[in-house]
């Protein structure tokens, strides 16, 4: 699939058709995992540690077990001691395996101490309160920079447990004091954040008479869930079936394996189906969070506004267990080398454990954090050399088909400059930027930030999947694939791609979601790969099916394949126009006459990993007395190659901006520095940006195609959330003439910053 060749007018691609299960969701007919009622369903309740770090001396379960309705109580004394890493998704992956279902040392407030399985929720709740747990307190550390000193031992891997470096050119040389070179340094802190999917974490496991177990998990990677469950329970993979039901949002929060092994263990042990349904507090504290980071950025720029060198030292706080703590260091670092032409650059990440909630995948996978640090620092640099931040960026941004300066995959058709030019014009950047500074109580400011993100794992990990596409005897199509629609319209988008190739209405296509018994292997919904890789897989499968259909039709019609015409679900030979028939009739004839099923199974390997690009322009108004920030206007421009479903792309961008504004302004788990208790542990204390506070968002798409993407498409889901946080922070600093770099910029931090600014601190 070559860019340019296929980009253009389409019948189904690039259209805003409704999401396939949207009506069922809106009317409440859809069944989420939490809605599933099964005969004899037991209720599992996990019991969490109220200590930040302690050895469990004893757990007295007698009283709890005596509660009527309680089936069993599980602790570290009667459960598998297998260690695992919940972010692993393929066999042979290396990583620190430092988790256990029930550790004998709890490592954060919210760690799993025990579980009660009972006939109903009330009995489980009551029993949980009756557990008598004796702890031996251990020293603990909450602050990641304090953790770096290694005084508190959380795991055998030590603290920091991982360090990595990525570099190009000669950074040290570039920083040695040359005249006319400005060195700009910043410390940028980003918080632990909750994904805040509407659906809390939930799972059901059902055992059967053959020793098999079926797990319903609204997850992102069914094959990861299967692998981790099989490992912990010592089961062959074919004894574990994982089904992905409809999900009420994930944003990375359901990418790692969390509840599933507990549920599977309890179901196997009790011989009955078991449900675990987290409440909001447990979802916030005891699943995964966005990784907290502290970035030390240092950039050398010349007076012409050229970036000569950049160094970033990142402290990565992965919380109480490693999970993706080392993987994310690489993911962060690589982005820095794919947005600006910086000849001399070094990124170093130091990952630590702290006695805080566990970090994991979160929309952007480190990108929002690392690019917030970089983009805030760039505005600082622009200010130092007295250049317009947009001009400054334009001088340094990458160009289409630039190489990756560290030898990674080509940036592809990287259209960030187009994005910035378009956005600056639509936003009237120049006029707004050069407006005289406000001096009263309310101050307006504007900010800009750019971003890049990936399209899969090509050259980092194996990135492939298999799809089976069949034409049934009535001409309808069935796409079997390991799809995980996270509410973003993956299924509908796949239908649009197949529909475009097969020239058939998307209504005639079914594309059920992942089920390890039925779906061929796929590495799952991660790394912004689904449209670019799975979409290409679907497109290739459809092309092959189309060829097969045409070849078979030629035999039926007794003509050359070149004479076969296919349009709008009809097929005929141009030699005999009377023979025009629907796909279904032909499929039937092919079965009768040739005894052939119209089926294609295709394994597709990713061919490239271009960058997706985007920019946000933001205007804010800050109340200098209350510290409140009103976001007045956002312009978002994204280089997405080609939208498969324009409405979905716009939806992703609106939602991404909502999350980005939360990172910039309000969202923070706020783990207490002394107690380790998560302050923002419920939605009354964890502040999401809601509809009344959402600014108007104007979206522009740059659709210039991308090689290997289906119809030229590339990713949007993760990059959508990256630029809005730094653009907002930059706008606030522009409004206030401050230099605030600890996110989120809450009213309290803004008021404090203004006061310090007035005192000249």
């Amino acid at each position: 699939v070559k860019a340019g060749r296929t980009v253009g007018a389409f019948k189904y691609v690039g259209k805003s058709m409704p999401i396939s299960d949207g009506e069922a969701k809106a009317t409440g007919r859809i069944k989420y995992t939490g809605d599933m009622a099964l005969e004899g369903l037991l209720y599992g309740k996990l019991v969490f540690s109220d200590r930040p770090h302690a050895r469990i001396k004893s757990i007295d379960v007698n009283e709890a077990k005596a509660v009527p309705g309680v089936i069993q109580v599980y602790t570290c004394h009667n459960t598998p001691k297998v260690t695992f890493n919940s972010q692993m998704w393929f066999m042979g992956q290396r990583g620190f395996e430092d988790q256990k279902l029930f550790p004998d040392v709890v490592r954060y407030v919210g760690d799993t101490v025990a579980a009660v399985v009972a006939e109903d929720k009330e009995s489980a709740d009551k029993a949980a309160e009756l557990l008598r747990i004796e702890y031996e307190p251990l020293p603990y550390v909450i602050d990641p920079e304090e953790a770096m000193q290694g005084k508190v031992i959380i795991h055998q891997s030590g603290n920091p447990f991982y360090t990595t470096e990525i570099k190009c050119g000669d950074v040290e040389l570039a920083f040695t004091g040359k005249s006319g070179v400005e060195i700009v340094e910043d410390r940028v802190e980003t918080p632990k954040i909750h994904h805040a999917a509407m659906e809390n974490h939930v799972c059901i496991a059902v055992p059967d008479h053959n020793g098999r177990i079926t797990v319903y998990s609204p997850c992102q990677i069914i094959y990861s869930v299967r692998m981790i469950i099989a490992k912990i329970l010592g089961l062959p993979f074919n004894k574990v079936r994982v089904i992905k039901p409809p999900v009420g949002g994930s944003f990375g929060g359901k990418q790692e394996v969390t509840l599933e092994p507990y549920c599977a263990l309890f179901a196997l042990e009790t011989g009955r189906p078991v449900k675990i349904a987290f409440d909001r507090q447990a979802s916030i504290v005891s699943t995964r969070t966005r990784t907290k980071t502290i970035g030390y950025v240092k950039t050398a720029v010349d007076q012409d506004g050229r970036i000569l060198a950049r160094n970033m030292d990142m402290v990565v706080d992965t919380g109480a267990y490693t999970t993706n703590g080392s993987v994310i260091c690489h993911a962060m670092g690589k982005k820095l080398f794919r947005l600006y032409r910086i000849e001399n650059q070094r990124f170093c990440a130091v990952a630590v454990h702290t006695n805080t909630p566990i970090a994991g995948a979160a929309r952007g996978y480190g990108s929002p954090q690392v690019q917030a640090a970089a983009e805030i620092n760039l505005d600082h640099a622009a200010k130092k050399i007295g250049i317009d931040p947009v001009e400054f960026r334009l001088k340094n941004l990458v160009h289409p088909f630039d190489p990756d300066s560290t030898g990674g995959p080509s940036l592809g058709n990287a259209r960030i400059i187009d994005c910035v030019l378009k956005g600056a014009k639509e936003f009237s950047w120049h006029e707004r930027w050069s407006r005289p500074r406000d001096t009263g109580r309310w101050r307006r400011g504007v900010g800009v930030a750019c971003a890049t993100h990936v399209n899969g794992y090509y050259q980092a990990y194996q990135d492939f999947g298999t799809m089976t596409l069949r034409m049934l005897e009535d001409g309808s199509l069935m796409l079997n694939a390991g799809l995980h629609d996270l509410g973003n319209g993956t299924v509908t988008a796949m239908k649009q791609i197949v529909a475009e190739v097969m020239d058939i209405s998307p209504d005639r296509i079914e594309a059920p979601e992942g089920d390890t018994d039925i779906s061929p292997y796929d590495i799952g919904c991660q790394a912004s790969r689904v449209i670019y890789v799975c979409g290409a897989n679907a497109m290739k499968a459809a092309e092959n099916l189309r060829q097969l259909l045409i070849a078979q039709a030629a035999k039926i019609f007794n003509c050359c394949p070149d004479d076969i015409c296919v349009e709008d679900g009809m097929i005929w030979s141009r030699k005999n126009l009377d023979n025009k028939m629907e796909y279904g009739r032909l499929a039937g004839l092919i079965q009768q006459k040739h005894q052939i099923e119209l089926t294609v199974t295709l394994t597709y390997q990713a061919q490239a990993n271009p960058g997706s690009y985007g920019v946000n322009f933001v205007e804010v108004e800050v109340d200098t007395l209350t510290g409140f920030v009103k976001v007045l206007d956002v312009v978002a421009v994204h280089d997405i190659g080609q939208a498969i479903n324009t409405g979905f792309v716009e939806g992703q961008i609106h939602g991404g901006i909502q999350m980005g504004l939360g990172l910039a302004l309000t969202e923070d788990l706020a783990v207490h520095p002394r107690t380790g208790v998560t302050g923002g542990n419920r939605l009354s204390k964890y502040h999401l940006i809601n509809a009344p506070d959402m600014p108007p968002v104007r979206i522009f798409l740059i659709e210039k195609g991308e090689d290997f993407g289906p119809f030229g498409a590339k990713s949007i889901g993760e990059i959508a959330t990256i630029p809005s946080a730094p653009a907002t922070v930059n706008a606030i600093n522009h409004a206030l003439n401050t230099h605030l770099t600890v996110l989120p910029l809450t009213p309290a931090r803004i008021v404090d910053g203004i006061r310090k600014g007035q005192r000249g601190l």
Binding site: E122, T626, P692
Partner: protein
């Protein structure tokens, strides 16, 4: 199977509720909109829950005997749009319109807000600034207490066993202006970090405050009504200096009310913003 069980019952008339109180030997929780009760349901310990939401004689808003009388079962949605409330006690309409979300306001009642005694309860500073009185009915007697006496602590009212709030009384005068403002994490659907209600009687011709009262919410168990602000406002001309003076007094009030709270420096600054906003809203000025 162990379930915490309780009986739930409801009535159409207040007299039937009172009869039930006299006859029921057990402990009783009253609910109206149930917006606090439902989230706290796990903590429910009483034998009986009486649902007041259908008691018609607890739902009214009327002007009578120089008082604004509001039935305790009146919802915030009703109060927010009531013409009578908007004309006589604008602050209460404003506060009612900012309680929780629309869904909450459709259920939650003013009586419930007082009984729940949340430090962030939006109606409480308004009632305090108006010197409102609360009518309380029990199985035997009816008593009327000042709002400040109705709140006993964080989340605790001073109601005795089997007592319920039936009515809220706000004294009215002419030339009265009032307003309510709050700051929370968001501009809507937000729990107050700090809130402010102000009631003033003023002379339009001389542009002078005759008397006024301010109550700050979310600083402790109950509203804080600084005497300093009251004294400061008497006979004060409405100008920039007055607005700034008031802002400073309220800032001091915050510093004194929560000397050891981590949020003190922020709230002491932010309250100045509330003070300016309030003066501007009440008198149509643009001081800052």
């Amino acid at each position: 199977v162990s379930r915490r069980t309780f009986r739930i019952t409801g009535f159409n008339h207040l007299s039937d509720v009172i009869t039930e109180l006299r006859q029921n030997p057990g402990t009783i929780t009253f609910i109206n909109g149930g917006t606090d009760f439902i989230i706290q349901i796990a903590k429910q310990r009483d034998n009986c829950v009486i649902d007041l939401s259908q008691v018609k004689d607890l739902k009214y808003i009327k002007k009578e005997d120089g008082l604004l009388k509001i039935g305790a079962g009146t919802t915030f949605a009703e109060i927010a749009v009531s013409q009578v409330v908007r004309e006589t006690a604008e602050a209460l309409a404003q506060a009612a319109g900012q309680v929780g979300s629309m869904q909450i306001r459709n259920r939650a009642t003013i009586g419930g807000n007082v009984a729940s005694a949340s430090p962030a309860g939006d109606s409480l500073p308004v009632l305090a600034a108006f010197d409102a009185r609360i009518v309380v009915r029990g199985p035997a007697e009816t008593r009327t207490i000042p709002i400040m006496e109705a709140i006993a602590g964080i989340g605790k009212s001073s109601l005795k066993e089997k007592e319920l709030i039936t009515e809220i009384l706000l004294p009215l005068t002419s030339n009265r202006q009032s307003g309510f403002k709050k700051i929370g994490s968001r501009s809507a659907v937000t729990i107050a970090w700090i809130s402010m209600a102000m009631v003033v009687d003023w002379d339009v011709h001389t542009n002078t405050i005759l008397t006024g009262k301010i109550a700050l919410g979310a600083l402790g168990a109950g509203p804080v009504c600084p005497a300093k602000a009251r004294d400061f406002m008497v006979g004060r001309k409405i100008d920039q200096e007055m607005a700034a003076g008031l802002a400073n007094i309220l800032s001091e009030t915050v510093n004194e009310a929560i000397p050891n709270r981590e949020s003190r420096p922020y709230k002491a600054e932010a309250v100045k913003g509330l003070a300016f906003d309030m003066v501007n809203r009440l008198f149509g000025t643009c001081f800052e």
